[in-house]
């Protein structure tokens, strides 16, 4: 019964979404307060209904209700509870329901915390949110009903894809969706602003926290996915330029650009039309990402949920929303008059350069991702655009972004002086260059990647520190330290996020340039030397897990005769899904990861064993977490909280000057 109630709740949710999309919208156009006021309770109701439907599906998975087709295809009674839960979104139907759940959560949050918004803007934002929710609810109900019953339920399920039975991947989709869908808020604000024909500093301030939140989730989601690929796929790689990875990177790049351009709108009332365009494109690429993943148009590692018919539906949604928003943009963008005046050397100009680089980088990824499709359709050539292309075509943009970041963050608003901005960075530049040169001298005969990466990474990290230091004034050390602690969280957030970017750059360069690898056959009890370590394959045992059997190796790592760590790489086989996986044995270290993989048993006895040493690998994800933490610091800044409180008292909210 609960399943039918869940299905019914979804149908009701669609009705509520249509109501929420139409009534407040008409109300805003005609200036009827009562009609506009419907938006907030409707948004709450929509969220509750979708949440109920989602809970019903979760219950079906936890209770292993094999009368549901999705549960049969993606679950198994022997599976641990956490993977029964993650199985809810480890499939097409459930993940779309999660998508809509998060969408309605953002809508409801806008209704709950948006009390300070002008009534008409709020009504329009919530209406646009509801349109998106309505189309996706229709998509679920018409093409991907998670509540479809089976006439003859089987005794047990077919199990979830074993690659997905992993804690990292249990969390990866929710975070990614919080990011993707969070960008819908920026989109709704952009469309509402276009309809009102008005973008000002207040709009910039309202849209920024939502974008910031979405961006943080997207950052963590991408990092989780990359970390999962690192430890689960057994290649020790962290980014494969797979179409689906690109699909998440593109909205991230646009969201990053949007974060920076919204600052210019907020502080200087310039770049308005561009910011609106970025908000539309950021969400547009989120939809595109959903389309790429869900349609399987570009087959990839993630195409486990592919279905072209559904793809066409999402493509239609994409065309209507983005086409509609862009048409509106073309009609109204002229009305967005910039007010701030600034010189070609200024913080504003640096942010324009940042936006240009990020946007073009994103378009390069876009062109590369879709080129195989275009080449086949228009030129009849079947070809591949793989990692070597992206490494070559994308990396220069990130190098440029990193190079301009420290001076850009120190330039004054309106009219900056490059030599003055560079003054506190002189030491930083010298130090970074010296470190790069040192690395260059030590690592003879290797690629330029390492030295360049070290120089840039340090330049950005130390530049962020110099940025903070600069804000503490010129007095004695004690005064400056005291002031450092009292700096606004926005300053801290910016510095931490920028430093995180530098840390990730440094780690990517180190892992790519200096990883060591060894492939060999080892017998049980045999030792071998590798990269300054002595590795012993002690034994390989057969181990039974809850829903798999595994060959588990015990491998001891020693350095200079002293025990470092014992690792247990595995080769698992999941009989229900009929699929094997490798579980690498990884020792996460501050300066390096030791990464051991157990291969096939060999005919002449012994096992294939692969060993890697990955310098600074953990820093890669630590850097991503720092970026997200910087976003969080920024989000809790006084100006968002105080501004909210101050305006709540006012009868008719005034936009901040």
């Amino acid at each position: 019964m609960l399943v039918e109630f869940g299905h019914f709740a979804l149908v009701l949710a669609l009705a509520v979404a249509i109501l929420q999309g139409v009534v407040p919208f008409v109300g805003a156009a005609r200036g009827r307060a009562g009609w506009m006021a419907l938006a907030a309770p409707a948004a709450t109701a929509l969220f509750l209904l979708v949440a109920f439907a989602f809970a019903a599906l979760v219950h079906a998975f936890v209770a292993s209700d094999f009368s549901l087709a999705v549960v049969v295809d993606n679950s198994h009674t022997a599976k641990p509870l956490i993977y029964k839960l993650s199985g809810v979104w480890g499939n097409h139907e459930g993940s779309m329901l999660l998508w809509v759940l998060i969408l309605s959560l953002f809508g409801a949050a806008a209704a709950w915390f948006g009390g300070r918004l002008p009534a008409a803007l709020r009504a329009r934002v919530l209406a646009v949110q509801a349109w998106i929710a309505a189309t996706f609810l229709a998509f679920i109900l018409l093409t991907s009903n998670p509540f479809a019953r089976l006439a003859f339920p089987p005794m047990d399920g077919r199990d979830l894809n074993p690659l997905l039975q992993d804690p990292g991947l249990a969390l990866h989709p929710p975070f990614l969706y919080l990011g993707y869908v969070g960008l819908s808020m920026a989109f709704s604000f952009a469309v509402a602003a276009l309809i009102e024909g008005r973008v000002d500093a207040a709009w910039g301030r309202w849209v920024r926290p939502w974008t910031l939140a979405a961006w943080m989730f997207l950052t963590v989601g991408i990092a989780l996915g990359s970390w999962w690929a690192y430890y689960e796929l057994g290649w020790g790689g962290f980014w494969f330029w797979d179409p689906v990875e690109n699909a998440s990177l593109m909205p991230w790049l646009f969201a990053t650009a949007l974060l920076h351009s919204a600052i210019v709108v907020e502080k200087r009332e310039a770049l308005k039309a561009w910011t609106i365009l970025l908000a539309i494109m950021a969400f547009g690429f989120s939809l595109l990402g959903t389309f790429i993943v869900r349609s399987g148009l570009l087959t990839s590692v993630h195409a486990f949920a592919s279905d072209p018919a559904r793809g066409i539906f999402i493509l239609a949604i994409l065309a209507v929303f983005i086409g509609g928003a862009l048409t509106l943009f073309a009609a109204r963008a002229g009305a967005m008059q910039a007010r701030g005046v600034f010189a070609p050397v200024s913080r504003e100009a640096a942010l324009v350069a940042n936006n240009l680089l990020l946007a073009v980088a994103c378009l390069v990824v876009f062109v590369g991702t879709l080129w195989p499709l275009a080449a086949e359709l228009f030129f009849g050539r079947k070809l591949t655009v793989g990692p070597p292309f992206f490494d070559l075509a994308f990396t220069p943009f990130m190098v440029a972004v990193a190079a301009i970041l420290p001076p850009g963050a120190l330039l004054a608003w309106k009219r900056g002086d490059l030599s003055r901005a560079m003054a506190p960075l002189a030491g930083v530049l010298a130090l970074s260059l010296a470190a790069g040169a040192l690395v260059w001298a030590v690592g003879t005969g290797r690629s330029a990647l390492g030295p360049v990466g070290v120089t840039l990474g340090l330049w950005v990290i130390l530049g962020a520190a110099a940025d903070l230091g600069q804000r503490t004034g010129r007095e004695g050390l004690r005064r400056r330290l005291a002031r450092l602690r009292r700096l606004p969280r926005a300053d801290w957030g910016r510095a931490v996020a920028h430093a995180g970017f530098g840390v990730s750059l440094l780690a990517i360069a180190a892992v790519t340039a200096w990883s060591d690898e060894d492939i060999r056959v080892a017998r049980e009890g045999e030792s071998f030397a590798f990269a300054g370590h002595d590795i012993t394959l002690v034994a390989v045992r057969r181990v039974e897990g809850p829903n798999y059997v595994s060959a588990m190796a015990e491998m001891e790592v020693a350095r200079h005769g002293r025990h470092v760590v014992t690792l247990y790489p595995e080769r698992r086989n999941y009989p229900a899904a009929g699929m094997p996986t490798t579980e690498a044995g990884i020792d996460y270290g501050l300066l390096r990861d030791i990464y051991l993989v157990l291969g096939d048993p060999q005919e002449g006895g012994g096992w294939a064993v692969r060993s890697h040493v990955k310098p600074l690998a953990s820093w890669l994800w630590a850097g991503c977490l720092m970026m997200a933490a910087g976003g969080l610091l920024n989000l809790t800044d006084r100006r968002f909280r105080i501004a909210a409180g101050a305006r709540r008292g006012a009868a008719a909210p005034l936009p901040a000057a």
Binding site: L363, V364, R381, G386, D600
Partner: protein, 158 residues
């Protein structure tokens, strides 16, 4: 079909399936060449060739039997004295440009390669024009909406 034949068919099917999903860790020890220089060249070439039956994996990373065959083929060519280019050409001749992870710049592909630089130039020009305009523009007087004007009057009166 006799019972024995059915059994044989089932075993063959199982074996084929096992072959398809064989868990192996990419490059196998028995494939590697004794000469470390040749082996390093083979690895570098393998990283640029796509496993034809996989999804976006190079033959160096892939566990598929076909990828193994290609890895062995690359090594065979190198041992036979081919240069890196000749070995790659040999593979491309037989499997098409689909195997190249790094697309060539020939024909229409030139668009793919110059798309980034061109977009940067175009965007840079637009950006520069915008910066010029912003520098030359006069700061307009802050225009208030009628609603705000009313509210301002209210505040000033009280």
């Amino acid at each position: 079909m006799s019972r024995a034949a059915a059994l044989a068919a089932a075993v063959a099917a199982a074996a084929a399936l096992a072959g398809l999903v064989r868990p192996a860790a990419a490059v196998q020890p028995d494939e590697m060449l004794a000469d470390p220089v040749l082996e390093a060249r083979a690895r570098a070439i393998s990283k640029g060739l796509r496993c034809l039956v996989c999804r976006n994996e190079s033959i160096d990373e892939s566990n598929a039997p076909l990828a193994r065959d290609l890895r062995l083929l690359v090594r065979e060519r190198l041992v036979a004295g081919d240069s890196d280019e000749a070995a790659v050409d040999y593979i491309v001749e037989r499997f098409g440009e689909f195997v190249l992870l790094r697309p060539t710049a020939g024909g229409a592909n030139i668009m793919l390669w110059i798309a980034g630089p061109l977009m940067l130039l175009a965007g840079g020009a637009v950006g520069l024009a915008y910066l010029r305009r912003r520098a030359a523009a006069a700061e307009p007087a802050a225009a208030l909406s009628p609603e705000e004007q009313r509210r301002l009057d209210e505040i000033l009166r009280s």
